[in-house]
């Protein structure tokens, strides 16, 4: 039997725990002591594989573009993003018909020393290394995650794969003309080609290392990038400056410096210095928001993506986002729109809610989808999940792209409960005949809360709550498998753009890309498809932008998706560091430009 004394002790313990948990947290002074040229970067996820052919996440891409060289990269500071030669000497020379790209690489660039090379000394990077690296994506044994970027685009590549992927066999459309000249011949114009060559997927690997390490190559990267890997496990990775990296003095003008927006970051001091500046980068993989935040406050890391739940205590104003003075003393902040969007697809191949061969049913389904779109409260979604600093926009062309039309009507993303109800009534939808909606999600707090919010929005337009059910999956892989198998009616996703061109989001609705391809709505509209085919081979122009916007309108008229919102990512870093961080696919190569306190260009 429990005695009174024992119960009292238990209660006292519980009370103590409660009081400890209520203790107010305040930012502790960040570690100021000198620790050499070390930058400690917190990532909210971790890569599992460092082979560039597997660089399918932001995290893996970060490592690929810092450990390896790519032909091109994006200018460090220019927004909208602009291409900059990296290993290439200059931007590609493109033939008049847009089919042949010729690229010269810089002379004398060497791979890092490694036992994989003869005598352990890294050799010079050649055009043949690039050819080999791209061929690997089409080698069935490699199981590349990035082959889709160039599939069906390079002359002879598909045949090379079908003939057994023999690396000794030349691909007519991908050749090394000499030691330093690459020629790519396309089947049809692909204006985004140069953009794809900035990605981690296009990183250049030496064949010796792939052969030497075999399956272990994924953990033993050997590149010519600004950093080399010292250690890597599930908790952290350490990168060391590549002392032999080519000497290219930093130029504010070349990197697209904008004094009006970037003058407070101290970047002017970098002019003329030679990157990479930081000798050692320690990347901590910290999934939990609270742990990441506490690591920054305790001075254990120098950079984090701020958790949304912390923004209330962090910011003194939202528009523009401004740090409270007590935080501004210690940290710099960057609040920029992401290169991507969050949205919810309707599964258009589902006869209960999608396209239907019977025109009458098809029209009723369209009305149902439009009612759901009108019932969705984007402002509230933004307020609750993105602290109200995300940008809501109509359709599928995100504001960060040059093709975005800021003057278009915002009706599509303006909630109108009465109109939604009216749409349902006019098209014969009643509580009894409305279909049961299955809302797919990965098991987790945020997804569950988003589902509950969606259900409450729908309750407002008269959709019975017991007809909106969650379809939960244990992992993102299971979820992806299900929507690629067309098993889910409502698919909520975020899309991070691979390159800053609206084509990258428009292709998500192109009929031939239907599941298991990237078009998981399975939308198939011949008019849209025709426009996409025509615009896909066009260089950027006002006409192409008009075509993009017409496709955007088609998606909205057919109510194919509840879309969209671009999140504002709040990045925080120790203000002793001089940098302009970027957490997107297109911005991962900025490590080389991070400058530590009191760290001269040595």
């Amino acid at each position: 039997m429990l005695t009174f004394a024992r119960v009292s002790r238990l209660l006292a313990l519980a009370l103590s725990l409660f009081l400890v948990s209520c203790a107010e947290e305040s930012p502790a002074p960040a570690a100021k002591e000198s620790r050499g040229s070390v930058y400690r970067h917190a990532m909210d996820g971790a890569p599992t594989n460092l082979d560039p052919t597997q660089a399918d996440s932001i995290y893996a891409n970060f490592f690929a573009v810092n450990l390896y060289d790519t032909l091109f990269r994006y200018k460090y500071l220019a927004r909208p993003y602009a291409l900059e030669p990296n290993l290439a000497e200059e931007l590609p020379q493109v033939s008049a018909d847009g089919l042949i790209y010729t690229i010269r690489i810089k002379p004398g660039v060497r791979f890092n020393d490694d036992p994989a090379f003869e005598g352990g000394r890294g050799r010079v990077v050649t055009a043949a290394d690039f050819v080999y690296s791209i061929k690997r994506h089409f080698d069935p044994n490699v199981r590349s995650m990035g082959s889709w970027l160039w599939a069906g685009k390079i002359v002879g590549m598909e045949e090379w794969r079908e003939n057994g992927a023999d690396y000794a066999e030349e691909v007519p459309g991908l050749r090394a003309l000499d030691e330093r000249t690459i020629q790519i011949q396309l089947i049809q114009p692909f204006p985004q080609l140069a953009h794809t060559l900035t990605q981690g997927y296009a990183a250049i690997v030496p064949r010796e290392a792939v052969d030497h390490y075999g399956a272990e190559f994924s953990l033993n990267p050997v590149g010519s990038g600004p950093y080399r890997l010292e250690s890597f496990d599930s908790a952290r990775a350490v990168l060391i400056r590549n002392g032999g990296f080519r000497k290219e003095p930093f130029s504010l003008a070349r990197e697209g410096f904008n004094p009006e927006q970037q003058s407070g970051l101290g970047l002017e001091e970098l002019e003329g210095l030679t990157p990479p500046f930081i000798k050692r980068v320690e990347v901590e993989f910290i999934n939990e928001d609270a742990a990441r935040w506490n690591a920054l406050v305790a001075g254990e890391v120098d950079f984090i993506k701020a958790p949304v739940s912390q923004l209330d205590s962090l910011l003194s104003s939202r528009n523009p986002p401004t740090l409270k003075p007590e935080f501004a003393e210690q940290y710099q902040m960057d609040a920029s729109l992401e290169s991507g969007l969050v949205f919810t697809y309707f599964n258009m191949s589902n006869p209960e809610i999608g396209q239907h061969p019977d025109p009458e049913v098809d029209e009723r389904n369209r009305a149902l989808r439009c009612a759901i779109v009108k019932g969705f409260d984007w402002q509230r979604r933004n307020e609750v999940f993105y602290y109200g600093i995300g940008q809501v926009f109509p359709g599928i062309i995100p504001p960060v792209t040059p093709e975005y039309d800021a003057t278009q009507s915002f009706d599509y993303v303006t909630r109108d409960v009465e109109e939604a109800k009216d749409l349902l009534v006019r098209n014969g939808w009643t509580e009894d005949n409305l279909p049961t909606l299955e809302y797919g999600m990965v098991s987790g707090v945020t997804d569950r809360q988003m589902f509950e919010q969606f259900r409450s929005f729908m309750a407002d337009i008269g959709y019975p709550t017991d007809k909106i059910r969650p379809l939960t999956f244990a992992s993102y892989g299971d979820y992806a498998r299900a929507y690629q198998n067309r098993e889910i009616m409502l698919i909520t996703l975020s899309w991070t753009m691979d390159y800053p061109d609206a084509e990258n989001t428009i292709q998500l609705f192109y009929g031939p890309n239907a599941s298991p391809g990237s078009n998981n709505s399975n939308y198939d509209n011949e008019g849209f498809n025709q426009l996409y085919r025509s615009s896909a081979t066009m260089q950027p122009s006002p006409l192409r932008t008009t075509m993009y916007n017409n496709m955007n309108r088609m998606v909205m008229e057919d109510c194919v998706a509840i879309s969209g919102l671009s999140r504002t990512l709040v990045l925080l870093w120790n203000r002793d560091f001089t940098m302009k961080p970027d957490r997107s696919f297109v911005g991962g190569s900025y490590f080389r430009f991070v400058q530590a306190p009191g760290d001269p260009d040595d």
Partner: protein, 296 residues
Amino acid sequence: MKWLAANSTAARTWQALRTDPWGLAGLAVILFFFLLALCVWLGLLGAGWAEASGGRWQGPGPDHWFGTNMLGQDIFERAVFSARIAFEIGLVVAVATTILGAGLGALAGWRAFGFVDDVILWLLGVLDSIPFYLLVAALAYAMQGQPLAMYIAMVFTFWTATARLVRAEVMRIRNQDYVKSARAIGLPGWRIILRHVLPNTSHILLVQGTLVFVSAIKAEVILSFLGLGVQDGVSWGVMLAESTQEVIAGHFGNFLAASGMLFLFLLGLNLFSDALQDALEPGSARLRSRLFKAPA
């Protein structure tokens, strides 16, 4: 207690419970939560657990006694609704576990040292060799998407302890004279087990049932916290999972409501099950008493 026969087990148990103030306090707590759950079942409380009726993270007030969460949902409504979930899970798992554990345990005990007993003991050994929460989590993960995944995972994991206890008790009972007499007059084995053996293990089943009830509630909280438990609804585990994102921002409503109610309910259940065990098995209480008084 006039309706209880003076010398019946129930009457003796009640007499013992009446003299145990902590046991009565535990019973009062359980009854309180049962009343809450009953009100939820009847639709008198907790009906608005899913509605976003307030602003984001509102503090406690007359409209929202425990404040609101990130979505503007009333935390009191959600905490009360969770009491119903806790009762449902506790009861379903306790009853199913008791039936399965009692059935297989009795069978093993009745056929002790035979083939059937060997098979059941092997199964018990295999299941018991896997860490308890790891097995529940693994099963729940493997069956995710099935509506009853969490229940099945718990029953599959929890029945072993009941089965072991019942087996031991049945091995003792089967050598009693009244069982031998029943055999002598030709009663079939299944009938002897059902009518004469299992009723005499009721004290074990009752105590074990309350312990499983407690374990099921704790397991649900852990599974829901990990995203493997309640999928469409709310529970204290779900609320605690939500609170992980809120406490670092200084919002404690979810955390205090869920952990407070869970603490109180589990305290009540533990006090009551302790008292019940003492009442049903006075020997165990005396043994504990001797152990506590034993010199170091």
